[in-house]
Structure formats: structure tokens, C-alpha cells
């Protein structure tokens, strides 16, 4: 296995509550990504990180924040969850181009339902 785990795998919450999803890697990869996957939209990038404390926005970053205080963990926070944030969230890691390949290894996903 690639050594990437997401938690929780399933969560049901109510509108307005904060939610944090965790991505943990044991590969020491520099790059980490959060995507959401919805029918008809494919994979959409929320935020990504290119190092500890270095993050940038993706195409659907509104309503989400991230933090990366150490190489192995990348947290995705929904400050006040809305029903439109019901989705499957995937974390991915990569070594980056400078290490030979910008290919992604994905976690198994976190299914979030906001009621």
C-alpha cells in the first residue's frame, strides 16, 4: 500500500457544524491535495500543499480551509458545513516533478453527508 490514510471514512453531520477531515501519509511526499468528487463534476481540486505550512487554493476552495503543520498530515476543515458540501473527499500525494514524477496516489476517500 502507498501509505496514505483518510479519516473519518464516513461522516454525517448537520448544517452549520464544523468538520475536519484528516489525511495522513507515511511516504514523506512533498505534495498533498484535497479533491472532492461529485456526479457530473468529476474530481475538483479544493486546496493543495507543496510543503509544511505552504498551501494554495484550488478551483473550489470557498468554504474550505487547510493546514499542514507537519509533512505527514494535511487537514481539510469545513468551518460551517452546508448541504452543498455533501460529497466524497479524496486526499492525494505526490513526490512532484523534480523527484521524477507528478503522479498522484489517492486515499480511499471520505464520504461526508451534511443534513
Amino acid at each position: 500500500d502507498a501509505g496514505i490514510t483518510q479519516s473519518p471514512r464516513h461522516k454525517v453531520t448537520e448544517t452549520g457544524t464544523p468538520v475536519t477531515l484528516r489525511c495522513h501519509q507515511t511516504e514523506n511526499h512533498r505534495y498533498m491535495y484535497w479533491y472532492r468528487q461529485d456526479p457530473g463534476h468529476g474530481l475538483r481540486l479544493i486546496h493543495y500543499s507543496y510543503g509544511v505550512k505552504d498551501t494554495d487554493k484550488g478551483e473550489v476552495s470557498d468554504g474550505y480551509s487547510v493546514s499542514r503543520s507537519k509533512t505527514e498530515d494535511f487537514l481539510l476543515t469545513l468551518e460551517s458545513a452546508t448541504s452543498s458540501q455533501t460529497s466524497v473527499y479524496f486526499c492525494a500525494i505526490s513526490r512532484g516533478v523534480n523527484s521524477g514524477a507528478n503522479v498522484l496516489t489517492f486515499g480511499a476517500g471520505s464520504r461526508l453527508t451534511v443534513l
Partner: protein
Amino acid sequence: TQLLEQSPQFLSIQEGENLTVYCNSSSVFSSLQWYRQEPGEGPVLLVTVVTGGEVKKLKRLTFQFGDARKDSSLHITAAQPGDTGLYLCAGENSGNTPLVFGKGTRLSVIA
């Protein structure tokens, strides 16, 4: 904004048939990656094509990168039920900018 258009969106075929999935863009990419995703799992890399005109084979799967590096195709020969899944293409730009993903082709192979 760079876009990757995949076609068809959905494909349902009988076991043993051949099929081709397309990934097209108006933008040039430094490489194209293909991933397969099975239900309840994350996408898994199948192949990366880097050179314009490159052809790579993975058992019954043949991947081609267009000469101009703007498009790619995936051809499956004699499809099996195990080929069922969501096929995603992803374009890579130079540098470490995030990949651009297509919306995927959902393939169902019926025994």
C-alpha cells in the same frame, strides 16, 4: 482555464467487445496520465504518456498520446467485467502545478 473533455461519459458493453475512450483538449500538456477508479476506492494510476505520438500497452489496454500532446485515447481489446470502472485522464503542465482532470468515462462491461 485548461479543460480536458472525455468521451463518452458512459459506456455499457458486452464482454469481449472492443472500445475506445477519448480525452481531448485545446491545450498542450507535458504529459497525460490515465487512472481507473473502482466503486468505493480512490483512483489508481494506469499509465503516463509523455512523448507526442507515444503508444503504451498494458495487457489489453492501449494508450496513445496525440502528436500535438493535446489529446489521448485509451483502447480496450476484448473487454472483461473486471475492466468495469471510472476511467479518468489527467493532464500535467510543466512544473509542479496541479493536474487537470477530465470528468471521466464510466465503463460497464456486462458478462
